[in-house]
Amino acid sequence: MAMLNIRNLTVRFATATGSFTAVDGIDVHVDSREVLAIVGESGSGKSVSMLAVMGLLPDTATITADEMTYDGRDLLHLSGPERRKLIGREITMIFQEPIASLNPSFTVGFQIEEVLRINLGMTKAQARARALELFKAVGIPAPEEKLNAYPHQMSGGQCQRVMIAMAIASKPRLLIADEPTTALDVTIQKQILDLLMDLQEEYGMALILITHDMGVVAETADRVVVQYKGKKMEEADVLSLFEAPQHPYTRALLSALPENATGDRLPTVSDFFQSEAAR
């Protein structure tokens, strides 16, 4: 029995011009302490399905699934208070735009202490001390000073570290990272990924890593789900996916990696469509 189990998840958005299906019959499962990568280009619905798990989709979204359970608990029909016992405590999430993901009107210290005080019932002083530990754990330089900083006074990499610190504050069992490095400089990307992997190990969490970067997948994941236009294309453990990709779309993604390029032109995923159309 997997920790997170999703069967036949569909998410539709009502728009001014009609209904739009973002996720179309996806199955996903994650075991504890496992690192799962969900790969796909933008618009493939990979974030939407995880936002559905978190209950973070707007009211315009309609979510249906045969099953969506965490530890056997049904996530589809949770009341607000029941959901909050899981979300932000046992399941946490970090996002693509770290600076925009932090509230510009409050110090980052306030924002992490808030989690500690409200979710874990700490006093102000306890929360302050624990926040400092967490900031050290995620490698924020001059952590005491940074507790009093506002997001706009910090770099993107530092903000993502703050987000990670908030996400691990309650020692979650599952951390969902939605393109955590996409908005960052290349040099910082590696550091953040390493940090996530270290923490995953240390805390014994499961990690779902949403990414469009096959390179990231190769370095981190145990298992991979490839998604395209809201549908699952392929699912495999990471070795067999890279050794023998089954689906033409996966092959297209892999051949789009610069190091796999042959000839003088980088292949693109649209080559996949041309070969599809030619068939």
Binding site: G80, R84, L86, T92, F95, S101, P104, I118, Q153
Partner: protein, 335 residues
């Protein structure tokens, strides 16, 4: 922050000079000779005309006249009313508390109702509450307040007989002027019923004056909340498992308030315009009524200085709003 304040202050100087130029030009542009206006209906001999001209400084070159005008302003000399012969500044200061009290109560009403209504409408977007409150807001925004005031008088004063039609307090009460605010002074006087009388005089005019700002604030709050609730950091707050109350009341509201406070501040100018109409309808002895009376009596020193003082006041309020904006927005505060 200090540089922010300084730049705002420096920015004000040319605007303020511009306002003095407009005020200075006013009597000189006025249809009709100000000297004749001052002399009144009996008319003057040419000698007396020249003498008055010299006395008023109209015989010198315009730049000289302007500098003299500025000099007098710096000494607090805003001229004398043609009608009452009293210094304009004295009259302004005597009447200003009445307008301030009315405006203050109006803006408090508008804010205390407008902000919660806007927040609720945004949270329950598309609901009955949203539709009804936003339709009402648009009606309020479209309201000719001089008519609205008359309707309220017909209903509450005429039909129900609940509220008085005009003035600030019933004539049977008399007490010393301590703060200039009738609500406070009536309480201080300790006379029975004085506060109730002041309040019953204040309620209709302040509701009328609050109508348009209330509508604007409610609409602005709603759209600011809607915008903020789509931001990534609100999603983060939810992802952290914060209760809905806290997500909206702390994370969203704090950021939505930044544009709303600007809007509230900008309503001060709207209030001054509204005060002219409201005070006229309710015979409220404040700046607005004083200005409109002076315009129709062609009491040009009053109009000139009243214009200047009102604009200066609006400008100062706008400055305070800008500074508040800097205070509540960390992105500016910590530059």
């Amino acid at each position: 922050m200090f540089r922010f304040i300084l730049s705002k202050l420096l920015y004000l100087i040319p605007t303020f000079l511009g306002i003095t130029i407009i005020a200075f030009s006013f009597p000189r542009l006025l249809a009709g000779d100000p000297v004749l206006l001052m002399a009144g209906e009996r008319g003057v001999t040419p000698e007396r005309h020249a003498e008055l001209s010299a006395q008023l400084g109209f015989d010198r070159s315009l730049p000289v006249q302007y500098l003299e005008f500025l000099g007098r302003l710096l000494h607090g000399d805003f001229g004398n009313s043609l009608v009452t012969k009293k210094p304009v500044l004295t009259e302004f200061l005597a009447l200003f508390p009445a307008t301030l009290e009315l405006g203050f109560v109006a803006i408090v009403i508008a804010t205390l109702i407008g902000v919660p209504v806007g927040v609720l409408a945004a949270i329950k977007r598309g609901s009955w509450f949203d539709q009804i409150s936003m339709t009402s807001a648009l009606v309020g925004f479209s309201m000719p307040i001089f008519w609205w005031g008359l309707l309220l008088i017909i209903f509450f004063s005429g039909f129900l007989g609940w509220t008085p039609v005009s003035g600030r307090i019933s004539l049977m009460y008399y007490f010393p002027n301590v703060t200039g605010f009738m609500l406070i002074d009536s309480l201080l006087s300790g006379q029975k019923g004085a506060f109730a009388s002041a309040l019953s005089h204040l309620i209709l005019p302040s509701v009328v004056l609050a109508t348009i700002p209330l509508a604007v604030i409610a609409r602005q709050t709603r759209s600011a909340m809607l915008e903020v609730m789509g931001e990534d950091y609100v999603r983060t707050a939810r992802a952290k498992g914060m209760p809905q109350r806290r997500v909206i009341g702390v994370h969203a509201l704090r950021n939505a308030m930044i544009p709303v406070i600007t809007t509230i501040g900008l309503q001060i100018g709207v209030l001054m315009a509204g005060a002219i109409l409201t005070e006229t309808i309710f015979s409220w002895p404040g700046i607005g009524k004083w200005m409109i009376d002076s315009i129709s009596r062609r009491d040009y020193p009053v109009v000139q200085s009243g214009l200047l003082l009102t604009a200066a006041m609006v400008m100062i309020v706008n400055l305070l709003v800008d500074l508040t904006y800097g205070l509540i927005n960390p992105r500016i505060r910590n530059k």
